[in-house]
Amino acid sequence: MLSKIMSCGLTGLSGYPVVVEADIAAGMPAYETVGLPGAAVRESKERVRAAIKNSGFAYPQQRITINLAPADLKKDGPIYDLAIAVGLLCASGQAAQPDETSAFLGELSLDGQLRGVAGALPMAISAKEAGIKRLFIAAVNADEAAYVGGIEVYPVETLGQLAEHLAGGQQITPLLTHVYRPDEAAYCAHDMAYIRGQQHARRALEIAAAGGHNIIFIGPPGSGKTMLARAVPGILPELTFEEALEITKIHSVCGLSAGGLVVSRPFRSPHHTMSTAALTGGGHRVLPGEISLAHGGVLFLDELPEFKRQALEALRQPLEDRQVSIARANAKLTYPADVMLIAAMNPCPCGHFGSDKPCRCSPREIRQYLSRISGPLLDRIDIHIGMNSVTYGELTDGTPGESSREIRSRVNAARRIQRERYAGAGIYTNAALSAEMLNIHCALDDACSALMQRAYQTLGLSPRGMARVRKVARTIADLCGEENIGVKHLAEALQYRTPDGRYWG
């Protein structure tokens, strides 16, 4: 007997339909899986056998062949367990053959329970696009898949329950399509209101969030760099459904989605010992890296000079292109990587240079420490902020600062202005402005040009530094709701420039 069951595979962030064919033929008991199965797919044999037996069915003691079509794509992961088990039950006449608009996804445990799999959301999306009407999936993945809409999602607990459903007995109720709603509570978990002092840094973060600028904090330990960075996802605009879907896809593929959609902007803070592949993506299975997991949110690199130079250099291209392309022998994939980079570092190895506490480093040590960060990477960071420790008075001052919600409303307004201005240009924020667009959208009037020229002469700005200052000035003007860049915007923007030779000698 032969049966054909629909399932799904995954490459990168997109799924593709897979047909699981199960054939039971007379002969010596044997089990063969074909269609480029990976190790986890091969091992499904043992899980499927135990699950069928422990669910009260008979395991066919005959010659079994499983084919995963298309046969030229490599399949990996335990996602085909359920489809194989259903196929065997149908082929052995113990269950009714489902029609080909039903797809099955899930890993089996030996007792017949269904476990969740990575990548449920992207597979559900591709299943829908492939014409699948019903998706049978582990209950833990069901919430995530139910956001897709246009496809019935059946949360399956056990193999037995599913067989009952297929046989027309006790039916499983499909989930209602979930409606996306941004989570205000998640947004306020790290509210700006809790941060004391650091008015200057708060202002800089608001500008950075409004214009999508990358930002670097340079300050001694305990100046609140990490706390400030944590609060940034909360002042970025609320996620749209499309963004939430895309972010969830990435997290889902990595097995990080905790059921349901990602409803707040991600904050990823990789440790500085992280490898290049873990940061940008890659590895054996070519999974997304931290920069893609931070897509739509914040990538926070604390202790920037401690990161491996190679890893930092690998970030340059993704920061520019807002996506990562990974080519390996067996795959060539592109993952989105539109992040706001927040970097933090001490000004010197001991951390106290320029602060109230004495610094123990020699000028040479400081120079060496700072030179670990390359100029090209710094060129991608528009806003530089020098910080000092928070004083005792500021820490204990009971008056809360402005809340994230208030700041977010201003950020939203500024982003709206930018979206309208760049409609059709393929960019959404000031940070993404190219050199040609800079002259159109960041034009300087006579007074501003005069200021810029004097700044160039007296403050030691580089040509690239000037371009960055103009972008930031554009964002400040947008935050003020003003059409043109004014002198006060430009003057403020100049304050966020790269510290002079004292830091980057």
Binding site: G197, Q198, Q199, H200, R202, R203, G219, P220, P347, F353, G354, S355, P358, C359, S362, P363, R364, I385, G386, M387, N388, L451, R454, A455, T458, L459, I476, K488, H489, A491, E492, L494, Q495, Y496, P499, D500, R502, Y503
Partner: protein, 359 residues
């Protein structure tokens, strides 16, 4: 034995590693001259106990005419002159101290140091202390002696050179060794207009023990010693106590009592040192008047608005961060940032590490 020959043996003796001034003079007294000591070493009849064994070992190892010639050749190749106590141009004040250095290795031209002022202080100085030390050194109109270390020493040398006055740096390593390495440029500037000197053999690396010995030369060379900023203990304190024991005038720049780097100067003042606010105080002490009574520096003509004026007044008192300024002038960080940029461009303030501003 000609004087030139005897001088070459002095230089040979002073170039022996581990040879301190005390040992030098003990040996000289015993043998009458450096040449006789040389002969005794080459004959191998120097009794033990006169000098430390490692010095004697070094002496017997280097006891050849070829070595003497080699040292002299190295000196001239590196354009280093050696001034011995036998020479006319040996600094007269230095000769007065107990155990004066028998030989000074000099890079550059040793200026007349009769009215020299030593300026010393900590490496970890405050920015204001650094700037004030530099200003005093510049306005002094007298040669400045210091140790070419980081911090106050650097400020002292630079100040003297700002005013085109001569300056002498006394090193705690060989005169051909540049330490700290970032003072490479300073070293070459000093030998243009003044001198870098050391009593240690060429090539001696900077070692902790060398510096107190070096400090006695600074104290010995100068007529008066100005202590700028320093903790209560450390090299500066040693130099100051040596200066007192040599009968030098001791000056000290007072500072706020809560500031750790002001501790030593305040302590010295409490013990009777002359408080020095500006170069004029030192000049007045020696009965000199400033070349012409300069009127106090006029306030920079401020073409700035009221807001910037207020920030300027604040920064005159102390360095501040944007938040502190914003709080004091009741402005937003954005307004203050913009104002500070304008002031920076006009040279009215400057940005310091750690997000602070000062004038």
């Amino acid at each position: 034995m000609s004087a030139a020959q005897e001088k070459s043996y002095w230089i040979w003796m002073a170039s022996l590693p581990g040879m301190g001034a005390k040992t030098f003079y003990t040996l000289l007294k015993e043998y009458g001259s450096a040449a006789d000591f040389f002969d005794a070493v080459s004959a191998g009849n120097v009794p033990a106990g006169l000098a430390p064994t490692e010095v004697m070992a070094a002496a017997s190892a280097a006891c050849s005419r070829a070595r003497v010639t080699e040292i002299l050749a190295e000196l001239s190749a590196k354009r280093i002159t050696a001034v011995t106590r036998l020479d006319e141009d040996y600094p007269s004040r230095l000769a007065e101290i107990p155990w004066p250095p028998p030989v000074l290795f000099v890079r550059g031209n040793l200026p007349a140091l009769d009215n020299a002022i030593g300026i010393v202080g900590t490496r970890a100085c405050t920015r204001r202390g650094y700037e004030h030390a530099r200003k005093i050194a510049a306005e002094l109109g007298m040669p400045v002696v210091s140790g070419m270390a980081r911090g106050i020493d650097t400020a002292a040398h630079l100040g003297a050179m700002d005013a085109k006055a001569s300056t002498v740096a006394v090193l705690g390593c060989g005169v051909d060794v540049i330490y700290p390495p970032e003072n490479d440029a300073l070293y070459h500037m000093i030998i243009e207009t003044g001198a870098v000197i050391s009593e240690l053999p060429l090539g001696t690396a900077p070692a902790v023990g060398n510096f107190p010995v070096r400090n006695r030369i600074i104290a010995g060379l100068c007529r008066g010693l100005l202590v700028v900023e320093s903790g209560i203990r450390g090299g500066t304190a040693i130099t100051a106590s040596l200066a007192i024991s040599y009968g030098r005038d001791v000056f000290a720049m007072p500072g706020p009592p809560y500031l750790e780097p002001a501790a030593l100067a305040n302590e010295l003042i409490a013990q009777g040192a002359v408080p020095v606010r500006s170069a004029a105080d030192i000049r007045a002490y020696y009965g000199e008047r400033a070349p012409q009574e300069e009127p106090p520096e006029p306030e920079p003509l401020l073409q700035i608005d009221f807001f910037q004026q207020r920030i300027y007044e604040l920064l005159k008192k102390e360095d501040m961060g944007i938040e502190e300024i914003a709080e004091a002038v009741q402005g937003t960080p954005a307004e203050v940032s913009a104002a500070l940029t304008m002031m920076e461009i006009d040279g009215l303030c400057r940005r310091l590490p750690g997000g602070r501003f000062g004038i």
